[in-house]
Symmetry: C2
Subunit: 430 residues, 2 copies
């Protein structure tokens, strides 16, 4: 069943990507209208989902499950933005004249078939649908169990409206049940990328159980290093924001590394400020002596993502000590420095091997929306393909197209070999 | 032992990438001089390797094993080109002003630690060394057994000369023995990319036995489709080149798809031309009737990479039949169309889902050198990361650097949220 659905997606996406950009824009506009027209239906189905599940969920999750007119209209605006966007397919990324009448183009193309596995947060569904439509990818959607009725209504309505308007392309489908995920993970010949959103355990499970490439991150252990040159007020303000603005987020800070030079004066101020903000403070043994505080972090706990109002503080001998700690215990997600010394900032951002490296601002900025990408499909902490907060470019790859007039390689080989020209043709900047 | 070496590489590469671009250029120039100064030593060690192994090797492999003054000077020229090249590290790929004094940079960075596992072809060693030096990556080199003495001499001399000149960075090492490869494949926490070069079986083994991302291709089943509008002389010339110019290459054609409209007239000409060129012809049942030729390709043989002077010919009902055949049986490496009808060419290149798609030229052009990339580190048939012939960009990724002045996310949230500016700052085109 899952395999059949994937084969159909793959075929549907192949048809979809051949229609002109303007047609995909028109389809996006139909989706916007569909969302607006069906707001009452979506709210009604969502109320039934909430009635059944909200009471078993933690408050933050129940909030994510619940739709509102506001959330739905924000969603519609997002899709409207996608409809207006320059089409990303077929963009000429590079062009080289190899010889007379022999031109090599590098052009952007869709990845193929993608699967996004998301939490019980139904506004994600149309976002992903919009992004895959704009980029010409097939999409196997798998939403959280608690949002089943909302997700079903959203997918059914999208399908019906698009078909009614003469766009029968089957580039999307909705999978249900945990078994469908296990089944999907087997088909690495049909699925080009899996984007799991959800708990760290879930992401790790996906990574361990499939040969399909995964875009995502199993953890976000973000650090902030306080350099001796840091402005104390700024440092306290940024650290409190990075920890408390949304503690469950993957880009919230988990460990503060304080330079030994300023530890005796800075640590007491930091502790007081954090406690005032409701944060539980845990410390290394050196900090423990300075603060006379006995909640000591064990050596094997420095990789911990608290995801809550708890923070770990460690004294480091110098910036190199901080960089070593981060490269060893971090998750290559987001790490920052607080320093007025510009040289220190530049050394730090050059040496820390993370997707996002920040100077003098909160780690919470590491996010597709705040980076100006519009929609975000995920945050990658691997190094291959897209990295950091990922927008549309994570759904694209490229192909090389060479157009000749009967050119053969034999002409460019051997003693009388014709030389290549290799002249780079400037392409429009994007 | 292997793990220790990888940890050291990782550290050495981290130091290497912090030195100025001009220093890496200087090191490349020292490598050029090292190669020229030690040519007699390399030839002498290579002669010993050849004396021991050449007679057990197929002629093509023995040729690859043997160095010559010519090969060595070509190699030195290649490294000289790299020394003159603009440094690819720290390139500003995109820049966005998020708000006053809050600027987001996307900059190119090295992948980290790479391993290239190559055949008994010692000229590859300095090429890879040069590419990783230019891109700031650590490199675990593993060469073919038959070139052991040459490889050892090359690595030893490079290390000694660089150290003597004040560049002690240990960013490279030479692994020996098949066991060292198996050991390396376990350390996905230390190695960012493996590039296996060699037999299809070997590449498949690497892909199946490691969680480290692999850049490479397990097979090259390349197709050429002959459209009814094709010029017959051009078609015959291109097909013969694509099959015979170097039949063992991954970009040589394996299957010719002939449109039914022209099959009765074109097939006899094609068969005669191929036989004249020494190619063994195998056919589908429809071609068999037309040609009265009984070497029939079985249904399960259409995925075959002959890698020799053998070719398969199949009649397809139309271009869609050709595209379906290619997307099903191809290896997403390189596929081409021969047609004078421009519309047909454009439909074909848009619909075929391969890394390289060609119109009216030989598939043999799919190669980093012929694409104008200078050195090639591999050809990828996957869709994530670098695809097709891959030069330096396959050894690079990017990071996001955000520089602020104490900016916190709380200012951009809630009822009195400050809006972002998101103004794109133009970056120099590269």
């Amino acid at each position: 069943m899952v395999r059949e659905a994937l084969v159909q997606l793959s075929q549907g996406a192949r048809e979809l990507r051949l229609v002109p950009a303007a047609t995909r824009s028109r389809m996006l506009e139909i989706l916007v209208q569909t969302i607006l027209d069906n707001t009452p239906l979506f709210l009604q189905e969502n109320e039934r989902d909430c009635a059944e599940h909200a009471s078993h969920l933690e408050p933050a999750l129940a909030q994510r499950l619940a739709l509102s007119e506001d959330k739905i209209s924000t969603l519609a605006c997002g899709i409207q933005d996608l409809a207006r966007l320059e089409d990303p397919l077929g963009a000429l990324l590079a062009q080289t004249q190899l010889d007379d009448d022999l031109i090599l183009d590098k052009v952007s193309v869709p990845l193929g078939v993608v699967s996004v596995i998301f939490e019980s947060r139904p506004d994600v569904l149309y976002q992903v649908l919009g992004l895959t439509l704009r980029t010409g990818n097939g999409i196997a959607l798998k939403g959280g169990r608690e949002a089943t009725r909302t997700n079903r209504a959203m997918v059914r309505v999208a399908q019906e409206t698009l078909e009614k308007n003469g766009f029968p392309y089957r580039w999307f489908c909705l999978l249900e049940g945990r078994e469908s995920v296990d089944e999907l993970l087997k088909h690495d010949d049909l699925v080009d990328l899996v984007i799991p959103r959800g708990s760290n355990e879930f992401v790790r499970y996906i990574q361990a159980n499939s040969r399909i490439p995964v875009l995502g991150h199993a953890s976000g252990v973000c650090h902030i290093y306080v350099h001796p040159s840091a402005n104390v007020d700024t440092a306290l303000k940024v650290i409190v924001d990075a920890k408390t603005q949304y503690p469950a987020a993957c880009n919230a800070a988990e460990t503060i590394l304080v330079d030994r030079q300023i530890a005796p004066t800075f640590l007491p101020l930091l502790r007081d400020e954090l406690i005032r903000a409701g944060v539980k403070v845990r410390v290394c043994s050196e900090s423990s002596h300075i603060l006379n505080h006995d909640d000591i972090v064990r050596d094997d706990e420095w990789n911990t993502e608290y995801g809550a109002l708890t923070i770990a503080i460690k004294v480091v001998p110098d910036m190199n000590g901080a960089i070593e700690h981060i490269n060893r215990h971090g998750s290559h997600h987001t790490d920052g420095i607080l320093a007025q010394d510009q040289g220190a900032c530049e050394s730090f951002v050059a040496s820390v091997d993370s997707a996002s490296v920040f100077a003098n601002c909160s780690t919470r900025f590491a996010d597709g929306y705040r980076f100006g990408f519009g929609a975000e499909i995920g945050i990658g902490t691997g190094k291959l393909h897209a990295r950091g907060p990922v927008g549309m470019e994570g759904l694209l790859t490229y192909k090389y197209i060479l157009r000749g007039k009967g050119h053969i390689v034999a002409s460019y080989s051997g003693a009388a070999a014709r030389p290549f020209k290799f002249s780079r043709i400037p392409t429009p900047s994007r």
